[in-house]
Symmetry: C2
Subunit: 352 residues, 2 copies
């Protein structure tokens, strides 16, 4: 029995816990505390009448959603790609564009899936150290490389770079594809989508999971030059013709059509984030400036791990990463105002 | 601008047409003509009341569906894997298990995605010629190899091998993973699931797209030894933690719980298939014996391509493959009895 020698062995990414208990305050996976747009619910009811359509394959090119996304972002349809969450989009982009012997570059503190994809597909990679303030040093990305991926705003730090900084990096790398992962951009970041007109090698990735309250639906998006999108589609169609299911396509379209609701939720989360930051700072926490729906915060009197474990006993789940450069911090997703008040009160009670 | 030199270039699989016109008889992608189980519709209505849950990530381990599949197939939960349609499951299995320098083996006439995945992931492959009756020669698969994939029943031929034949191949290959792709098994084939107890290296893949009328939902399944499934999950979790969306999980569970409805639809399709086969044979067609929801048939007076184009003008879509060994045949999915009557009448009218 020697079949195991041919197996691809990997160490997978570990997602945040999905606790099953009732009455939990879940601030550990950057989910949105508000429901999706009301139109999504109406569409769910309407789709039930047409449930027999489930017997048919969805459109492989998901053109209705592509069209709506193109309208929303004011780009041609040829610049839009859709996948099963931004993880699927990013994984497919790694497989498509990072196909050389040169190392791809990304920061040492960033989304922890990048090195997992690199390992999976046998892509050499090199991490570049963020500076003392957890900021990217742009010059680090102006050396020979096989590709670049930068989360902006970054995770788990929450820190955003200006579009001008990204443009310097993109302009310096005409021989590489540069992926800008904008999972959190709607909470105050500056999108690089406008740069996709100018730079054929720029791929911008976004998601419906955070600002659009649809983590449970699995929709991710990439926007880039028509050439880049065509290559990405070739690889996607070499894996699975039909990835986005029929109802999901229609729900995603509904979400994009309700800009007022979208803005209201995002604004509310940003306001709650700033309130939470003030409160944590008052408690002595060191809190990085965030342009996302989470805060990266270093507790004062206790270690991050102690606070993490304490909060768990109070049924409040936040995220703690054990890596050397991040272990002193907690990543706290922004919930409703009430949830964050309870978090702060719980922390205050402990200090008494 | 030299970023293109690093791009992975592939020739993707081309799925069957999804015509947009009304009043089409669609017999080109092996979809089920009957709706999913009625419980699925009820669950859709019920889920709309809980649509706010879409803001949360689904369970990464999809344990509710895994549990239901384990019950259904009478296997332990550790033997069950779920993906976004069987294409996703198969692609992930290729990436996981076919990771050597030796060629993987599959028939020259089979599902046309196998060589696409092999090319995508850089897996060497060798096709083995089916015999004159489009049957596998088992001894062809008893040579050194890096893995084996066999569709049973096979597509586009519809021909099924007995479990005993498959077992001989599996038993002869303890050093390779053998994938048996059972997308069509519910229409009269003999599943190899019982062999997964005996052979650690056997992976059986099934789908909700054909017999369960849920092509639009994207659910595929693999059953194999706990060791095999663990490796598969490691790779899956290295690509995307959350692939199956929340509502889909619940709808798939409902489908599994209505065995009576499932059997009724499958039996009806098999009866319609046999009727259609008789009719085509009476028209002079050469029709292979099918254990699937389609027929592979060679027209008499005209070429397959001529019949294909003629039917299209009558808004009847069937599938024609241009490959040398299959170009004389049409693959005709089994629709409702009424649809197949119309197909036969349309063919008769042409001959008048």
């Amino acid at each position: 029995m020697n079949w195991e020698k041919n197996v691809r062995r990997v160490v997978p990414y570990v997602p945040g816990e999905q606790p099953k208990a009732e009455k939990v305050i879940k601030l550990n996976t950057n989910e949105n505390p508000y429901p999706p747009a009301p139109g999504v619910q109406a569409k769910m009811v309407a789709f039930a009448d047409r449930f027999d359509e489930l017997r048919l394959y969805p459109s492989p090119t998901v053109e209705d959603l592509v069209k709506e996304l193109a309208l929303y972002h004011k780009v041609p349809e040829e610049k839009v790609f859709v996948g099963v969450g931004s993880d699927d989009v990013l994984a497919t982009a790694f497989l498509t564009f990072f196909n050389s012997d040169k190392a791809i570059l990304f920061p040492d503190v960033t989304y922890s899936f990048y090195d997992v994809w690199a390992a999976l597909y046998g892509i050499p990679f090199e991490t570049k150290k963020l500076d003392g303030n957890y900021r990217i040093i742009p010059e680090d990305y102006m050396v020979e490389n096989g590709g670049i991926v930068i989360a902006n705003p970054n995770a788990p730090t929450g820190i955003a770079l200006g579009r001008d900084v990204l443009e310097r990096i993109i302009a310096a790398n005409p021989d590489s594809v540069v992926i800008v992962d904008e999972a959190y951009v709607d909470f105050g970041g500056e999108s690089c989508i406008p740069l996709t007109d100018k730079y054929e090698n720029l791929l911008v990735v976004q998601t419906f999971s955070k600002s659009r309250s649809m983590a449970g639906l699995r929709v991710g998006v990439a926007i880039g030059s028509p050439k880049l999108i065509a290559y990405l589609n070739d690889v996607k169609f070499s894996i699975n013709s039909y990835t986005i299911n029929l109802p999901t396509l229609e729900y995603a379209v509904e979400s994009l059509r309700d800009e007022a609701y979208f803005r209201k939720c995002v604004d509310r989360i940003c306001a709650t984030r700033e309130w939470t930051k003030e409160q944590l700072t008052a408690l002595g926490y060191e809190v990085l400036e965030s342009k996302t729906n989470f805060l990266f915060a270093k507790p004062a009197a206790y270690t991050a791990e102690e606070v993490f474990e304490y909060l768990k006993t109070k049924h409040i789940y936040v995220r703690h990463f054990k890596g050397e450069r991040v272990k002193d911090y907690l990543r706290i997703s922004i919930g409703t105002a009430e949830e964050m008040q309870e978090l702060i009160q719980t922390l205050k009670d402990w200090r008494k």
